[in-house]
Subunit: 208 residues, 2 copies
DNA sequence: CAATAAAATGAATTATAGTTCATATTAACG
DNA sequence: CGTTAATATGAACTATAATTCATTTTATTG
């Protein structure tokens, strides 16, 4: 008997895996999923291509994990805004959730675009639906609460939730799309305010 | 001198090209852009792969034309609903335009999904943005008219237009996505009504 | 029919990535 | 230090499609 995995090697293994994932996310944030190739990942992480396969079953597996890691935090932030510690009206919470979504998308630039809208391998597409659905679920729950509290009109909260996600994605992704030059600045505050107004009016349905 | 293109051959050429485009659209409608390969197209159109290149520069060119042909008619239909012959209120016209958009998307199934949301080659993505923008422009113009007529609140019509397109795409594409079994029926009328309510309330902004 | 130009063919080539695996390297333990 | 097991390596292999091009077929005219 001469060799056994020890805490040190296990730690190294975990670190290597994390390094690969972090590097992969950097690649996606820089050039989208289309730039995430095994070769490029290996290159940037200073390992051989074969090594990647010691940590990930195959490319789909890698993409899925990248997607989860990249989006998990994003979803959490919106979740926290929608369901805060303090007691706030549903109107305020929806407003904050939309603002948070938008702010992070704008800050994240290419990454947000890649996660929300960029063309990806069909294998990854399923994961994106999950991602978008996570947002829809947050808005749906919040809208249900708002209906209960008589702040919002009675409505199909699933549809409204999805509509909000779609509206946000379209209005945010438009300006961020392609390799939209970071110079092409747009009025972030104006965009966010507009979207808050649009969505709040929609769920309140005061108009006839 | 012995051979010169004549009207007959020119006509045949045009017909061949049309056949290829129609076949390509059928393929996309059946299995999305991912199933549109030169080999498959040639096979289904009963020509050799090389022949395709007599009619199209390259694949990107083919995809672009497929996109234009496929979406052109769709956009026109919404355009007609938004700007009809008869005099109608902006509210009614917006309602009809949204309904038309949704009805055609639902009827078109896979094709609508492919045009609006399916992952495609980045080369084709630019064309999609054009396509979505065409819808945004229609809604923007209609919203501007509605603001003028005091039917809608003052707002950034570009943002609202894009928001409507995004909201529609998200709510419609969700149920249509993947190879969503045609059996998985959803309440089409309910969905359309909900979206009309959502969008009309949003642009009217009666709520505060 | 002969001559010729256009059009079609499809096997071969090219390009791009994902995946594998025989070999080399490294780490742990006696 | 020597043995052994785990890890890493990266060139070779595989798969998938796009693209090309020498050859064949077809259409037109004198």
């Amino acid at each position: 008997m001469a060799y056994r995995p020890t805490e040190k090697t296990e730690a190294r293994k975990r670190a290597q895996r994390k390094l690969l994932l972090d590097t992969a996310i950097k690649l996606v944030a820089r050039g989208g999923f289309q730039s995430l190739t095994i070769a490029a990942l290996a290159e940037h992480a200073n390992v051989a291509t074969g090594t990647v396969y010691k940590y990930f079953e195959n490319k789909a597996d890698l993409c899925t994990e990248v997607f989860r890691l990249g989006s998990g935090r994003e979803v959490d932030h919106v979740q926290w805004a929608a369901f805060p510690e303090q007691t706030l009206s549903c109107t305020e919470r929806l407003s904050k959730a939309i603002t948070r979504f938008a702010e992070r998308a704008i800050a994240g630039h290419r990454l947000a675009y890649a996660l929300i809208a960029e063309p990806v391998d069909p294998l990854v597409e399923a994961e994106r639906l999950t991602y978008r659905h996570a947002y829809t679920a947050i808005f749906k729950t919040l809208i249900d609460e708002g209906i209960e509290a008589k702040e919002f009109a009675a409505q199909d909260s699933n549809i409204s939730g999805a509509a909000i996600v779609g509206a946000l994605a379209e209005t945010l992704v438009g300006p961020l799309a392609h390799g939209a030059p970071a110079t092409a600045q747009f009025d972030k505050t104006h965009l966010i305010e507009s979207m808050v107004d649009f969505c709040l009016s929609a769920v309140k349905r005061a108009a006839r």
